[in-house]
């Protein structure tokens, strides 16, 4: 009953006109970002964090969450109409989505995708409501050793699943942790790795690093593309037939379950959820033989799974303070910038903000449907803008984004430097996701490690003497050692995901 009351209070806060506008703007901007090839959700959310810095914490996080799941749908539009996924999680949708476009069913594909996203997102948010309190209370029992061990498991999973080489993933993770250590040491107060540069005493700006590594490096790796001709579907063709609805329903149900389950596991990205969902359709759908030639299940399942994953991935963040994916890690960075620490204490110290954000997820998912289905033509027209103009405007926003973090051109230089680093990492096929995660978790991880060792007076055995941390540490070790044990990982699922 308490939960229901708090959720209702959350709705009261989320339904104020200011917060509704923020959610609407977030969905709008997120969709545009999703449509733009190259700027994925990670860079997109990071790029827009500076816009929200002057806003109140609730409005700011509401808007960033809306941007986050808006990008998930935006990517679908280009997948269906152009055979070009705007972001990795929509890649699988190109198969049947674009095939549907070729047979004149683009409108139906986009509507099914929007409804599927709504269904998946809403059910996953209900899961968040149900899990928030009990998991949050459980989280309060977690001490520094358990928290450190939990982060070890999260990072291990991401490292184990990122890309094709564990060695490269570990290099990426170590780089992120090292970058996070630049600045004043939190315990002794001594400067670390600042090279005498005063600007680095506060550390390297997280947003500038992310925009550089994900956004700028993407632009730097552009190649001359073919020109595309977009034919937006007319409004009347947007409605799917009764048969298409009936065929989509089981796929949406399976997609919701798969997305929700994977959203809870750190390291599993939206692309894994959509790919597994497509695999499930191939195995369980009555119409599996039609998959690949424009079957509606091939759109409904992955798109539902993708959004279900996006919303479910907020559960570990809200309840335990562990980001489950690179985009959630960026979102966590935004929480921290607003003075909010995601995790169990979020519900005790900022209960009203936490519930307002959760309520806004329901509203945002609904707004996304209302906004996207009728405006498909508008979104596709973005792609008619010549690439030279798009690139110039994206660079403009990157510069503004980096500058406004501290109102200093120093952060623009940081962004440029990390853009070049990102380009080098892409060239060397080093996954970027572990770096983002460790960049956010680094300070928290170091603090919990040091607190644990202070409690134990320097005895590392503290991690193995306490049952929960022991199990978690062993689990992390098992995950990292899994290649030695020849345990299979879903490599094929991760291969083309630029986030990993």
């Amino acid at each position: 009953m308490d939960t229901l009351n708090e959720l209702l209070n959350g709705f009261a806060a989320a339904l104020t006109w200011q917060n509704l506008i923020f959610a609407f703007l977030g969905c709008l901007l997120g969709t545009v970002i999703g449509v733009l090839p190259g700027i994925g959700p990670v860079a997109g959310v990071a790029l827009l964090i500076p816009l929200t810095l002057n806003m109140d914490a609730t409005g700011s996080i509401i808007m960033l969450c809306a941007i986050f799941y808006g990008t998930a749908y935006g990517g679908t539009i280009t997948s269906v109409l152009l055979n070009t996924p705007g972001e990795a999680a929509s890649a699988i949708t190109t198969i049947d989505g674009h095939a549907m476009t070729k047979i004149g069913k683009a409108g139906a594909a986009l509507t099914i995708a929007a409804i599927g996203s709504f269904v998946g997102g809403t059910i996953a948010t209900l899961g968040l409501v149900a899990a928030a309190k009990p998991l949050g209370e459980l989280g309060l029992l977690v001490g520094p050793p358990e928290f450190f061990a939990l982060m070890v498991v999260g990072i291990s999973l991401l490292v184990a699943l990122a890309g094709k080489s564990m060695v490269k993933a570990l290099i990426s993770g170590a780089l992120g942790l090292l970058i996070s250590m630049v600045g004043i040491d939190p315990v002794a107060g001594a400067p670390r790795f600042t090279f005498g540069v005063d600007r680095l005493l506060d550390g390297v700006s997280f947003v500038a690093v992310i925009v550089g590594v994900f956004g700028l490096s993407e632009i730097l790796s552009y190649r001359k593309g073919e020109s595309t001709v977009v034919h937006a579907p007319g409004f009347r063709s947007l409605l799917p037939t009764g048969k298409e609805w009936r065929r989509s329903a089981p796929a949406m149900a399976r997609g919701t379950g798969i997305g929700f389950g994977l959203g809870l596991i750190p390291g599993m990205t939206g692309s894994v959820a959509s790919l597994l969902s497509y695999g499930a359709e191939k195995k369980f759908s009555k119409y599996r033989n039609e998959l690949g030639s424009g079957a509606v299940e091939g759109v409904a399942g992955p798109e539902t799974a993708n959004n279900s994953h996006a919303n479910a991935a907020l559960i570990p963040l809200f309840t335990l303070g562990i980001p489950a994916s690179p985009t959630i890690a960026v979102l966590m960075g935004a929480f921290l910038q607003q003075g909010l620490t995601p995790g169990p204490t979020l519900f005790t110290e900022h209960s009203e903000i936490a519930w307002a954000i959760i309520a806004s997820l329901f509203i945002g998912n609904l707004l996304l449907v209302l906004l996207n289905v009728p405006l498909v033509g508008l979104w596709t027209s973005i792609l008619r803008v010549p690439s030279s103009i798009l690139t110039a405007l994206i660079l403009l926003f990157m510069v503004i984004g980096a500058y406004t973090i501290n109102f200093s051109v120093f952060d623009v230089f940081v962004m440029i430097g990390f853009g070049l680093l990102g380009l080098a990492l892409r060239h060397l096929q080093i996954p970027l996701a572990p770096m983002v995660l460790t960049l956010v978790l680094g300070p928290l991880m170091e603090r919990s490690l040091r607190e644990s060792l202070e409690i134990s007076q320097g005895d590392f055995g503290i991690f193995l003497n306490r049952p929960i941390s022991m199990v978690l540490i062993l689990l992390g070790a098992l995950i990292i050692c899994s290649p030695l044990l020849k345990l299979r990982k879903p490599k094929a699922l991760m291969d083309d995901d630029p986030e990993t």
Binding site: L170, L175, A190, S388, V399, I400, T404, V412
Partner: protein
């Protein structure tokens, strides 16, 4: 690297790519630097772990993974990713560096206008009208939208004459 690309590698290419070796060397050097610096920061204090402990562990991880990567490359070289368009990289990076260097001096509007004109007119070969309109919207338009709409202050010129005319 895909299995196929591994299979189709000619014997002449069975050595690590230069860029891969350069990358490994850079990571190993960074790891070694962090290891040495961390010792200087102090690994342990009377209160417990010192500021250098965690970086030390990360430096060790980076250095050891670089060595492991090198061994993997010597055994079975991997293909580096596709090369970038050097012209594009140089143009974007140099123009961004110049923009960042002059932004406080010329102000956001003028420096961003020149930056956008370069990318639209010179690199993008857009028409004068389209370049001018987009550059004006992106510089002056963005300045006013951010300054007055979002209350986010973008820099104005430190040169008096430019400042006086609102740039």
């Amino acid at each position: 690297m895909t299995t196929e690309s591994t299979m189709t590698q000619s014997p002449a290419r069975a050595r690590p790519a230069r860029s891969v070796l350069a990358g490994i060397t850079a990571f190993a050097a960074l790891g070694a630097y962090v290891l040495v610096s961390s010792v200087g920061l102090g690994l342990w204090t009377s209160l417990g772990p010192g500021p250098g402990l965690f970086p030390f562990a990360m430096g060790a991880l980076l250095a050891s993974m670089s060595v492991l990567w090198l061994l993997q490359e010597l055994k079975k070289p991997s293909a580096a990713g596709e090369g970038a368009d050097r012209g594009l990289v140089t143009a974007v990076v140099v123009s961004l560096l110049v923009l960042a260097a002059v932004m406080d001096l010329l102000g956001f509007q003028l420096s961003m206008f020149l930056f956008l004109m370069y990318h639209l007119k010179i690199r993008g070969k857009r028409s004068w009208l389209s370049s001018l309109l987009t550059a004006l919207a992106g510089s002056v338009g963005a300045f006013y939208a951010f300054n007055y709409g979002l209350n986010v202050a973008l820099p104005v010129s430190s040169i008096n004459v430019l400042n006086l005319i609102g740039l």
